[in-house]
């Protein structure tokens, strides 16, 4: 019964942040108002899908063998910053002051959403700690119960016994805010004021 137009609209509506109205507007824009934009979008989407993948080392977005951060020889390989998402990593990069490497967990422990250790990029973290000359791990994970439990878990199950300096970033942001809302100054002071975990 559904027309192609309705199918497109439903498909767009499933994307994050789009409601019924905005999905309709987008569908009309692509099909009727700017058909050229549709061609371009299809090409760009196909290209991105074929070339972008998760960096096998850190989980960042990546187009070659490893991502730009991992490939950059000037980055400090003695510091590893653990973040929840690529969004967080990109926000830290935009803010600027951090010059070490990253590790993206792709989430945090969330039993009520069925996210356990197997669903997170934790095996990769152990492997990298074995290979890299890491001296310090910064846990830049959200300040809520699930974020804190994720930090505990990483400390107990992965970092214990390695003799690393482990610190947590305190963002000093109202709860609900995270790295994506932090500006350069906030992040710099958070990095400078990072506290050792016991």
């Amino acid at each position: 019964m559904s027309s192609s137009f309705e199918l497109l609209q439903q498909c767009l509506k499933r994307l994050p942040g789009l409601g019924y109205r905005s999905a309709e507007r987008l569908a009309l824009h692509l099909l009727v108002e700017q058909p050229g934009a549709c061609e371009e979008l299809m090409a760009v989407l196909a290209q991105a899908r074929d070339s972008v993948h998760a960096c096998p080392d850190c989980g960042n977005l990546c187009e070659g063998d490893v991502c730009e951060v991992c490939a950059d020889g000037s980055r400090n390989r003695a510091i590893l910053c653990v973040v929840e998402t690529v969004t967080d990593l990109r926000a830290m990069e935009r803010a600027g002051p951090y010059r070490g490497l990253y590790h993206v967990l792709q989430g945090k422990l969330s039993p009520i959403h069925g996210v356990g250790p197997e669903q997170l990029n934790l095996a990769g973290l152990s492997g990298r700690l074995d290979q890299l000359p890491v001296e310090e791990v910064i846990l830049a994970v959200s300040n809520d119960i699930e974020g804190e439990a994720t930090c505990h878990y990483i400390q107990e199950e992965i970092l214990a016994g390695r003799g690393l300096r482990v610190s947590r970033i305190g963002f000093g942001l109202p709860s609900g805010g995270g790295i994506p809302f932090a500006d350069a100054t906030t992040l710099r002071s958070a990095l400078e004021g990072r506290r050792n975990c016991d």
Binding site: S110, P111, I112, I145, A149, H152, Y153, E156, P174, G176
Partner: protein
């Protein structure tokens, strides 16, 4: 603070509830089902964004409303903030608040800034009903008395949900441990806060009781924690000792989420041993004690909302009640008949019919 005006759209079964409040004590009369209780409920929501009648947001939204949401707009005169317009929008599963047009990002920040105290004829259930009602009462009072309480309570319940989910999923000990550590830490903090806040509150409760009843009967609100422990370590021991039972039942059996509170009078449990009149006096003292707590704290005096309570009291307690309310707070009361034995307030009389309030021409003084 005082309410100047309320406009509630799609609240409960009313398309629109609207009322303006001039200077003076307001008494709203009307038969049952005309919206008196709903009006007071809407006013009371401003304090902790929770209803005194239900914990279910969907129950507050008019069933036929499309989209399913209700909007409450309060015009408030506040000692510190001046004239403030607060807008609360409730949808199933979400609460949004804006103050003078600016969204409030962290709801915890406005808890207790707009204090109201509600006296309800249903309050007697707090004494007689299940422990859940007493915990809810305790939480609603304590978030106002200590702003940190809300954070600890929320964190405890998040950790509890996570741990219960892991028990049901039969998660490993390594998976449970980080959540259990947090649960024990927040749980112990919560218990200590409850104990301390009850100590602060009991003197207010006691003087309110004797003020209303005119007798010294040593009323006490006694904390009955689910886990009897005098130190964090002892609490953790009890918690650990329950593990097998918790695993079998797939839920956490002991902890502050199972706490209770006992009303005691002359060293006996009031639920079993107190008379009807004494029980009514105790629950009135619970609310009046909060009025006393606010007075001692200073700052913004709370608005007093009294929903159909005087009818059930004997003449002596009625007198005591009106006297204890004093004159510094705005009072908005409801009932089926206008108050007769109150020598302490000059009431403005309203009649409510089908959600509409109209001012009576003839007023007693």
């Amino acid at each position: 603070m005082r309410f100047n005006r309320l406009r509630a759209a799609n609240f409960r079964n009313f398309t629109l509830l609207e009322s303006a409040f001039p200077e003076g004590a307001q008494f709203i009369c009307g038969r049952n089902g005309q919206g008196k209780t709903n009006l007071l409920e809407a006013l009371s929501l401003v304090t902790s964004l929770r209803s005194f009648r239900t914990s279910e947001i969907p129950a507050l939204i008019r069933w036929e409303s499309q989209p399913r949401e209700c909007t409450l707009v309060y015009e408030i005169e506040h000692e510190q903030l001046g004239e403030t317009v607060l807008e609360v929008r409730l949808r199933p599963g979400s609460k949004q608040v804006s103050m003078d047009g600016n969204p409030v990002r962290k709801l915890g920040d406005i808890l207790g800034i707009f204090p109201t105290i509600t006296f309800s004829s249903q309050d007697i259930q707090i004494l007689r009903g299940s422990p859940g009602l007493r915990r809810r009462m305790m939480d609603l009072m304590f978030v106002v008395m200590d702003p940190r309480y809300y954070t600890v309570l929320t964190r405890y319940h998040q950790a509890l949900k996570a741990r219960n989910a892991l028990l049901k999923q039969r998660g490993s000990a390594a998976q449970r441990r980080p959540f259990e550590d947090l649960l024990v830490r927040e749980g112990w903090t919560l218990m200590e806060m409850r104990r301390r806040l009850l100590e602060v509150f009991n003197p207010h409760f006691q003087s309110a009781y004797s003020g209303i009843s005119g007798v010294e009967e040593e009323p006490v609100l006694q904390y009955q924690p689910s886990v009897n422990a005098d130190a964090a370590g002892a609490y953790e021991d009890v918690f650990v000792s329950q593990l097998r039972r918790d695993q079998e039942s797939g839920t956490t059996n002991r902890g502050p989420h199972r706490d209770d509170l006992e009303f005691r009078l002359q060293e006996h449990g009031a639920r079993e041993f107190a008379s009807e009149g004494q029980q009514r006096g105790l629950v009135l003292a619970l609310r009046m004690g909060m009025v006393g707590w606010y007075r001692q704290r200073g700052g913004t005096p709370p608005v007093i909302l009294a929903d159909d309570i005087v009818g059930e009291l004997d003449a002596g307690r009625r007198q005591g009640f009106w006297r204890m309310l004093g004159g510094e707070s705005q009072i908005i009361a409801t009932g089926t008949v206008f108050p007769r034995e109150d020598d302490f307030h000059n009431w403005i009389h309203w009649t409510m019919e089908e959600g509409r309030v109209s001012r009576d021409r003839e007023e007693s003084s």
